[in-house]
Amino acid sequence: MTQTAAPDVVEPKARPSIRRAVRILSEDKVALASVVFVVVVVLSAVFAPWIAPYSPSDISLTDRLLPPVWSDGGGWSHVLGTDALGRDVLSRIVFGARNSLLIGVSVVVIAGAFGTVVGLIAGYRGGRADAILMRLADAQLAFPGLLLVILIISVLGPSIPIIIVVIAVYGWMIFARLVRGNVLQLREDLYIRAAVMAGCGPIRLMRRHLLPNLVSPIMTQAMLELARVILVEASLSYLGLGIQPPNVSWGLMVAENQAYLREGWWTVFFPGLILVFTIVALNLIASWLRVRSDPQQQQLIAARRRMNAEAKAGEK
């Protein structure tokens, strides 16, 4: 009575796993290096008290402006030298990572979550809700973000929670736009329509059908935003409106030591360098994520990989 087909099952794709991700990552050396770098920075931030050779506020007036280990007068006790107050540059960089990352990640999580929710609602409901929410986003985008952040913080005072909130308030729009755009496209997909026909309510639809497909673009954007926020924090700290002494951040280090550019270039150079590297690394990771989630690119890469493998096997 019922049909029994002889199922000719196509070989299923290997389940995504960490090992597989690492293998794929290792093909793109640049992306791999970036990920390693960011991981190192994050780990040093987390384990700062155990990694840093000194406390960041250890003042030692006898060891002022010692150069890095490879220069004359430098030593292994202060690998990257010391600043004008004798504080170890390396330790300050490690602890600075803490603050920079704390602010960066907090902002991205808050702005990302809020923006995603807004984008979901706007894209899914469309109509008036969409119009209102998007006009709100447009209105905020019309203002020069950084200037307003500076203005508000200078009024409210630069404490870490305020910094996080203010930067987040000016960071959600890009997530909202991104998610909305993706949702508008996804809405037309047949399986969404099928889910609606099956009686799927909006909550479940967003949770089970839309969100999983949004993870990839959101993650990519999050990397980029993280880079941007770290830079914003650095700028604020440089202007004196961010992290306040005795706390340390990379931007603050640059600000404090710019007067010593001639006698102690390392005090400005290394914090600046780590800042640049971190931002570049995050951008490269975002770029790699974007390529990874493009199926056509993936096909090309996979094909090339296989062709090389076949060629090698043929040579043996």
Partner: protein
């Protein structure tokens, strides 16, 4: 109850499950920056019915409105005019909770087996989704059992439940789609070109499956397709649509043996016959021109731009859909209505047109 194309099956007095009365669906569309608002006349004044346990084939080319009609029956589009009567209740314009309730009794099988299943969900969840969303079954084990039952009913192995869609071929995915549609035990299935995206050797599997399920569960189908030959195998009655209007409704046998509307004739003769000796190519009714735009449909009979038999009246008056023979409704000025003595003329035509039937 298989469609018997040699003689009409006398269906036991079955109830009417679905009736459409003057259903009209127009979509607004704006042309250009300053354009006047225009409308796509997707479905215009369509009246038809589907009896319990039968399959109504809905056939047409692009622009015919058949897909829009299918979706409108399920409440996806709100009709501009007309009524939808399901199981005796007027369900026109249902939305929100009422619509969700209604959807327990009518479901859809979609055209694209590759797009209609969420690639990131396991088969178990896909098939169980209607049950989850309506809160019909909450116990995990019961859910799993029901899913297995549905999959088996549709010819899929029970262990398919734990896999993802990409592990399956088009035909298998379509079976999964059917299993999902059956989850809530609906009475009506609207199948939107369920075989068009499948290979020929697999199409037959799905068509046979649907036939078997109908016999087993007493389902009614609205089977939408552009392919008359596939529709023939599964439909009891067929409605031919052109540019938003129904031009002919009759039993499958009547449509194939004695089509009355010129469009139906042309459509039938245009179907490629897998037999070089049939000479279908040379003998077919030549239809020139293109299908007109549904935004500005022709005045009078919409087929007048291409009809080889069009006369003056066809350009002025819209032909009503009327019974011309017993159970055979046609919208054409040139076909004499029932009881006007024109029957004899058409009976003669019927005899001359029916090709000698190949015995089964």
């Amino acid at each position: 109850m298989q469609p018997d194309t040699e003689s009409h099956p006398v269906r036991e007095a079955s109830e009417e499950l679905l009736r459409l009365e003057g259903l009209t669906v127009h979509f607004p569309v704006r042309t250009g920056l300053m354009g006047r608002k225009q409308f796509v006349h997707a479905v215009d004044d369509v009246s038809l019915d589907v009896q319990a346990g039968e399959t109504l084939g809905l056939v047409g080319e692009s622009g015919s409105g058949k897909t829009t009609l299918g979706y409108s029956i399920l409440g996806h589009y709100t009709p501009t005019a007309g009524r939808i009567i399901f199981d005796g209740n007027d369900v026109t314009g249902y939305s929100g909770k009422k619509l969700r309730e209604l959807r327990r009794h009518m479901q859809m099988v979609f055209q694209d087996p590759y797009g209609s299943l969420n690639p990131r969900m396991r088969i178990e969840e896909i098939v169980a989704e209607p049950l989850i969303c309506h809160g019909v079954i909450t116990d995990r084990d019961e859910l799993r059992n029901r899913v297995e039952q549905l999959l088996t009913m549709c010819g899929m192995p029970a262990d398919a439940a734990s896999r993802f869609p990409h592990a399956f071929s088009g035909g298998q995915r379509q079976r999964i789609g059917v299993a999902r549609a059956l989850a809530l035990d609906p009475r009506l299935l609207v199948a939107d070109e369920p075989t068009s995206a499948l290979d020929v050797s697999v199409q037959a599997q799905v068509v046979n499956l649907l036939q078997d399920l109908q016999a087993e569960l007493g389902l009614s189908y609205v089977f939408i397709s552009h392919d008359l030959s596939v529709v023939r195998h599964i439909s009891h009655r067929i409605a031919i649509m052109y540019l938003g209007k129904v031009v002919e409704i009759a039993s499958t046998a009547q449509i194939f043996n004695a089509p009355l509307h010129p469009y139906t004739e042309a459509l039938l003769s245009a179907i490629p016959v897998p037999d070089p000796k049939s000479g279908w190519h040379e003998q077919r009714v030549q239809l020139g021109g293109d299908i007109p735009s549904p935004i500005t449909p022709p005045k009078g009979c919409r087929f007048n731009t291409r009809c080889p038999k069009a006369e003056a009246v066809c350009f002025h008056e819209v032909p009503p859909l009327e019974p011309k023979l017993d159970g055979h409704w046609v919208a054409c000025h040139l076909v004499a209505p029932l009881g006007s003595g024109g029957e004899s003329a058409h009976k003669a035509a019927e005899l001359s047109r029916s090709a000698p039937q190949t015995p089964n």
